[in-house]
Amino acid sequence: MNQTAFAPWDDPAAKPLIQFRDVTKRFGTFTAIEGLSLDIFEKEFFALLGPSGCGKTTMMRMLAGFEDVTEGQILLNGQDIAPVPPNKRAVNMMFQSYALFPHLSIWDNIAFGLRRDRMSKDAIAARVEEMLRLTRLEKFARRKPHQISGGQRQRVALARSLAKAPKLLLLDEPLGALDKKLRQDTQFELMDIQETTGTTFVIVTHDQEEAMTVASRVAVMDEGKLMQVATPDQIYEAPNSVYVADFIGDVNIIEGKAAQTGDKVTIAWAEGQPDIQGTTATRTFSPGQTCHFAIRPEKVAISADKPDAPNALQGKVLDIAYLGNISTYHVELPTGAVIKAQTANTRRIARRSFTWEDPVWISFSDTAGVLLEH
């Protein structure tokens, strides 16, 4: 199946699996979620991304049924889920701490939810074996949770929450407790399992790389509000605000006054410096309006001679961050502003073209950056 074909959010006829309708959640006087509306579609891998305290976990707990909705509605398949207690919802959750029952074996942990459904013994056994196979845990079925590794525990938690074949699986920071290497492998495993089972996944994470890797769509949250909901590439390439641009990846933000003709915008940002040339297809800036030009470091080129480019600024190398595969140069402009430029290290380090204090030119095309109002 072609990956790009899956985009129910662009299809006006598609019926969402979950709908948040003007949902507000307050704890006492603190507002955790404010008037939030959101549609999540079947078979989506949806990521809620934001700094801690942004309300993403609260949203998940409302879906699971552990928190009530103060105002508004959450619909699952068109039904309001407010009166349904957590144990009756077709929603399962994988907890951040995994919450494996320490007194039960891996097998019994996975069978726990199935037993509550009064399934026959054979049906339970068959389903547990299937889950063990799916998560490659067959060898550990008889062990207790404290006798297996962190990565294995993570898979048990996943198997247990998938065993009841929920319509919706919630994952609360599922990979938070794993080290980086294991986390990367597990991300792909999660995607495979999501595809195999066809379950809708909603994942909560504060790790933007993780969200970008696994999700079909990402919702960036801040202080109880959705800042942007879009596919990972749109979030990265076309952020709708400085907050989103800054939260996802590395970015240079240049603030200035806009002057627009058609889709071309020139930004006067500092005296004695050439204006920045940008393009925008979607926004209109009134003359003199404050405008933020956001450009990713990898889209900024660095050279010794003045290049032939719509935007070229002179400065000197302030700092070099060597990351192995890439290097990030911090270039200080005469105004004191520092622009980050990234280059792939295709050559050996001994032959690096620039070093500290070198005068350099940085340049970028007029379509490389994004123009943002706020």
Partner: protein
């Protein structure tokens, strides 16, 4: 050498305070009653030499243990003690578990205060607290006066000097030993486990039986042993609050020592009691060790 010294201290402690007294009691239990001071024979002095030592050992016998098995008073006292200890333990568990559960579920800032309230009575003398209970439970006591005033009863209840009074006092005295280990187990219980159980389809009550109780199991077992073991040998409560019908081995032991001045028989009673207690103590130790291993 330092490691040896470190281990030697607790072993010396056990040797001096447990093994040596035990051997002395064992020796007395094998002796005969005598009108002497101390009131038993044979005696042995270091200066008497080997011949006297051989004679000393020849004089020791199992006569007192045979006597214990012949007089059914002792057997009935042991059985009765066990029964009273078991029943008190069950009642203490039924009272203590809800209290421990309540404290563990209470707001964090309240817990130290509530625990303090459980421990606080221990800062007064045990004897004074037993006397206070006598004041409450006696015929003219607070409880009867209160019930008469309410009109619930027409004439005072006889509670003091019955087995009921013994149960009340044992439950009251040993309640903290039940509450504290259960609280410790429940306090460690991660709330997300209960949420996970609910998420997987349990009602709250099912989650309690399937998650809370199994995870509090070690605390419950520890609490039960901590109540059961001292309750078997309890002396003061049955003496002061029990009636003539209350038969407990601790009381029998006390009377043999101080009323009959029959130290050898009293020592034999004590040795048998210790043998009876060793079984639950070993079980208790095994439970503790299993718990430590599980937490690994």
């Amino acid at each position: 050498m330092r490691r040896f010294a470190l281990i030697a201290i607790p072993y010396f402690w056990l040797l001096a305070l447990f093994l040596v007294p035990f051997l002395i009691v064992l020796k007395i239990s094998l002796s005969d009653l005598a009108l002497a001071r101390p009131p038993y024979l044979p005696q042995w002095n270091f200066g008497d030499g080997w011949e006297a030592l051989r004679a000393f050992f020849a004089d020791l016998d199992m006569e007192n243990f045979v006597f214990l098995s012949e007089d059914d008073l002792y057997w009935r006292a042991y059985i009765s003690s066990l029964r009273i200890a078991v029943i008190s333990t069950v009642i203490t568990l039924l009272v203590g578990f809800p209290i421990a559960y309540g404290i563990a579920r209470s707001p964090v800032e309240w817990r130290p205060t509530l625990l303090m309230l459980i421990i606080l009575p221990f800062w007064t003398s045990f004897l004074i607290r037993v006397y206070a209970w006598m004041g409450i439970l006696s015929k003219e006591g607070l409880l009867n006066q209160f019930l008469l005033w309410l009109g619930v009863i027409g004439e005072p209840l006889t509670i003091l000097n019955t087995n009921t009074a013994v149960y009340i006092a044992i439950v009251y005295t040993y309640l903290p030993f039940m509450i504290l280990p259960i609280y410790a187990a429940l306090d460690r219980l991660d709330d997300s486990l209960l949420e996970a159980a609910e998420d997987l389809g349990c009602s709250r009550i099912q989650a309690f039986w399937l998650v809370t109780i199994p995870l509090a199991r070690n605390g419950i077992i520890a609490g039960c042993f901590l109540v059961f073991i001292p309750a078997i040998g309890e002396v003061i409560i049955p003496s002061l609050m029990g009636g003539s019908g209350t038969l407990m081995i601790g009381k029998v032991l006390w009377e043999e020592f101080f009323s009959n001045r029959d130290w050898p028989v009293a020592s034999a009673v004590a040795i048998i009691l210790l043998l009876i207690l060793i079984i639950p103590i070993i079980l208790f130790q095994r439970n503790e060790q299993k718990q430590r291993e599980a937490e690994g």
